[in-house]
């Protein structure tokens, strides 16, 4: 009976990751009374907002069977470009913001064109491009932050609406956009087709290169968005923005049911994966784990979480 009920739950691809998240939240609230405190929840929501936007981008690429390891570098570089446009050139901050999103999309487009036209593996190409974008960032800034970002856009990074940070709402908005695109449009179906079987997609007359380039560009746009929101929040364009946005979103997507091999999963699942990582990192800080141990402990918990998910799938789902 229990087995049957569990089997039904596992047949919904999201229930595993939601279940793990629920367990972790319950355990976290038992371990620390500060966990469910509204101040703490806002902290979690804010960090989830930035990692979440990159996770949406990365999970859509992973559905295609691609990866972009330069998203963090694109975010950081676009933030710096935004700082220069606003502070050094005195451009209208809204115009600068929009320009930076376009530039991010352009960087993503370049990645996509290189991957499709030259038939390069995206993993290797984007490691290289991360060096290029990150390097340009350092050449321009010499490692020094650009301060004095106009206060007009400050609320985008540090404002609140209905008690939650504005970046979190923006992340939710683009989660809806990403899910709509992948699940409700022909373009989204083509993404799954490409990720599941590229030659078969070509044989059906799907323009596979356009689909791939399109998603790369969208991912670059989202990376720039995360970068600019971070600039708005900090009030300065730090060259180091985006440095920590590379591996966590990939882990989040895998935890959330999007394998690196592509073809299955959704951005929504990936966001739940990001939430799991976010909660784990938060509770470790709350419990006062020594900073030296933090990354080891959170890494180990991530490994345990994905193992539990995979084992329960194998045990309950026999098709």
């Amino acid at each position: 009976m229990l087995r049957k009920a569990m089997g039904f739950m596992v047949s919904n691809p999201l229930s595993g990751v939601v279940g793990v998240l629920a367990v972790i939240v319950v355990v976290a609230s038992l371990l620390s009374e500060n966990f469910l405190n509204s101040y703490n929840l806002v902290i979690i929501a804010r960090s989830l907002a930035f990692i979440g936007i990159i996770t949406i981008a990365q999970s859509m690429l992973m559905i295609l069977g691609e990866l972009d390891l330069s998203l963090g570098a694109i975010g950081g570089f676009c933030g710096v470009i935004g700082g220069i446009l606003m502070v050094k050139l005195g451009l209208n901050p809204w115009l600068a913001f929009a320009l930076c999103l376009a530039i991010g999309a352009l960087f993503g487009l370049v990645n996509g064109l290189l991957v499709t036209l030259l038939r390069l593996p995206s993993l290797v190409l984007t490691i290289g491009m991360a060096g290029v974008y990150g390097g340009l960032n350092l050449v321009i800034t010499k490692g020094v932050a650009i301060t004095g970002i106009p206060a007009d856009i400050g609320f985008l990074g540090s404002g609140k609406w209905l008690g939650l940070p504005v970046p979190f709402w923006i992340m939710l908005l683009f989660l809806v956009v990403g899910c709509f695109l992948t699940l409700k449009t022909p373009f989204g179906r083509y993404m799954y087709a490409v990720g599941s079987n590229l030659p078969a997609a070509k044989m059906l007359g799907i323009r596979t290169d356009r689909v791939r380039v399109g998603v790369f560009a969208f991912a670059g746009f989202l990376a720039a968005l995360a970068g600019m929101l971070m600039v708005a929040r900090l009030g300065s364009a730090q060259p180091s923005i985006g440095d920590s946005w590379v591996l966590a979103p990939i882990a989040a997507a895998v935890i959330g049911g999007v394998p690196t091999t592509g073809g299955i999963g959704t951005p929504l699942g990936a966001i739940f994966g990001a939430a799991i990582i976010g909660v784990i990192e938060n509770i470790i800080v709350l419990l006062g784990v020594s900073p030296y141990w933090q990354s080891m402990v959170s890494g180990a918990i991530v490994v345990i979480a994905i193992s539990l998910d995979s084992i329960s799938r194998r045990y309950f789902k026999r098709d």
Binding site: K184, T185, P186, F187, R189, Y190, Y192, A193, S196, N197, P199, A200, A201, K202, M203, L204, G205, I206, R207, G263, I264, R318, D319
Partner: protein
């Protein structure tokens, strides 16, 4: 007593009874054929024999002992899968002895010279036309098939050899090579379980034939006591109409596709015309370049030279999107690699070509999609428990019907079938033949690439033969019997350009 006894085995999967009270005996020194339509339970039975699946009820007795309690007994059952399952970048010798645990110094370090010397005896015994040091991807498909069998036989404890459609990608002359090896294995005292959809092969090689249908064993008979007609009705449970001739009527329409001097990967100077409403057959050996010609025509492979006109207009090659949009469709022989989207539901697989009718303003209407996919599933008699079933779990015949149904939804005017009935049972085959005929009679131009002479003679209005990348003859169907056609397939002079 038989070496292996299947003792009233049943196997249930959630929602499906795959095997129902099967009883069989496999004897040493005999070839026992399992016959049945797609989805009859042959694969599940094989998995139980090899120990991959455990019976839900009943037991498998091997050498007088219950194999459920002695799993090591399953090691005496060697299995050769239908698909080529070799390491293409490794050598023939390495593939034979992978994972090197048998002899060869415990497998820790191996000396190339040692394994290549040992490989020689196997290569000679199985008459494989390759050297031990050749890379497997460079040897022919039939040699790869023989190598797979040889590899299974390197298992010293082997008593039973299971061959799952070992001939499905081979031409008739190559099949005989495999059969010689099978007879050799039987002569050495082992038992062979043989699975095929081709009747002539079953009768040529079997001692005993067991027929499965819907998970039950219908009958076991000595092969000599059965004929085609009886076997068909046992397998399908009804009379199957096997029309001798399924050529479309009135095939003298105007040319729809004209190919002039086409050259590309592995072929050159290919010229022919396809007329509206005809089925044009392409015959040849495996590797003659037929699939490459078709894939180049479709835009999947790059063309090197030549020109093509579609419905009187010059046709630019090299773009599958434009081909599909203009009504040209290619259905690949490689269902798994070029056809289905594994991991995706039947609904998403078929829905992939329906967006013109199922989406409004760029958004897919879920209900329209369900209705239209449902209609295709009904029309083409695709057997699936629900539309949300992962297509990878459907039988090959049902996958093929799904792919054809999906292509039909695009209103094709030129349709290229590449080995459309590979690994498909007779009843479904006949359905596909009748479907092709009906399409042609509606004015579609159809190209049929096939390695089965019987299929070509039954369906095609004309047959073009290819040999080593060139067209070697063209025959109207009335002239397609006899030696000239066979000669043209094998590249001998005298292949008549009758048309």
């Amino acid at each position: 007593m038989a070496y292996l006894t299947v003792d009233h085995v049943s196997k249930t999967f959630p929602g499906v009874k795959a095997l129902d009270d099967i009883a069989l005996e496999i004897e040493m020194g005999k070839v026992h054929t399992l016959a049945g339509e797609n989805g009859a339970g042959k694969s599940t039975l094989v998995k139980i024999l090899t120990g991959t699946e455990r019976p839900s009820r009943g037991r498998v007795m091997i050498d007088g002992q219950d194999a459920t309690h002695h799993p090591h007994l399953h090691k005496t059952v060697a299995y050769v899968p239908q698909e080529i399952n070799l390491f293409g970048n490794l050598t023939v010798a390495e593939n034979l002895f992978m994972p090197f645990s048998r002899s060869h110094r415990g497998g820790l370090i191996f000396r190339r010279r040692d394994i290549e010397r040992d490989a020689k005896t196997w290569i000679e015994r199985f008459k494989i036309a390759a050297k031990p040091g050749d890379k497997v991807r460079d040897i022919s498909i039939s040699d790869q098939q023989l190598l797979q069998i040889a590899r299974a036989c390197t298992n010293e404890s082997m008593k039973i050899l299971i061959l799952d459609e070992p001939t499905s990608s081979l031409t008739e002359t190559e099949v005989e090579r495999v059969f010689r090896v099978v007879r050799d294995v039987v002569a050495s005292g082992c038992g062979v379980v043989f699975i095929s959809h081709k009747f002539d092969e079953m009768f040529a090689i079997s001692d005993t034939i067991s027929v499965l249908r819907n998970g039950r064993k219908i009958d076991t008979q000595p092969a000599s006591r059965l004929d085609d007609r009886q076997l068909v009705s046992l397998m399908s449970g009804q009379e199957v109409r096997t029309d001798a001739r399924l050529q479309p009527e009135g095939s003298g329409g105007e040319p729809i596709l004209a190919v002039d001097g086409l050259g590309g990967r592995g072929f050159e100077d290919v010229s022919f015309e396809l007329r509206r409403g005809e089925i044009l057959g392409f015959a040849g050996l495996v590797g003659a370049g037929r699939s490459e010609v078709m894939q180049t025509l479709f835009g999947f492979l790059p063309a090197r030279s030549g020109s093509v006109t579609l419905e009187g207009r010059t046709w630019r090659l090299g773009d599958t999107h434009r081909a599909v949009k203009n009504g040209m469709f290619y259905l690949s022989e490689e269902r798994k690699y070029h056809g289905i989207f594994p991991g995706q539901s039947v609904r998403r697989n078929i829905g992939m070509s329906l967006f013109r009718g199922t989406s409004r303003g760029g958004v897919i209407d879920a209900r329209r999609e369900r209705d239209q996919v449902g209609a295709i599933v009904r029309d083409y008699d695709i057997k699936t428990p629900t539309l949300n079933k992962n297509i990878a779990f459907l039988s090959g015949g049902n996958q093929q019907k799904a792919i054809i149904g999906r292509a039909m939804a695009c209103d094709p005017r030129v349709l290229i079938f590449d080995e459309p009935t590979k690994g498909i049972d007779l009843r479904t085959k006949m359905e596909i033949y009748r479907l092709m005929k009906a399409l042609a009679e509606r004015g579609v131009g159809i190209i049929l690439v096939s390695s089965e002479m019987d299929e070509l003679k039954r369906c095609a209005n004309r047959i073009i033969t290819m040999y080593e990348g060139r067209i070697s003859g063209e025959f109207p169907i009335e002239a397609a019997s006899g030696n000239a056609l066979i000669a043209a397939i094998h590249g001998h002079e005298g292949g008549g350009h009758a048309a």
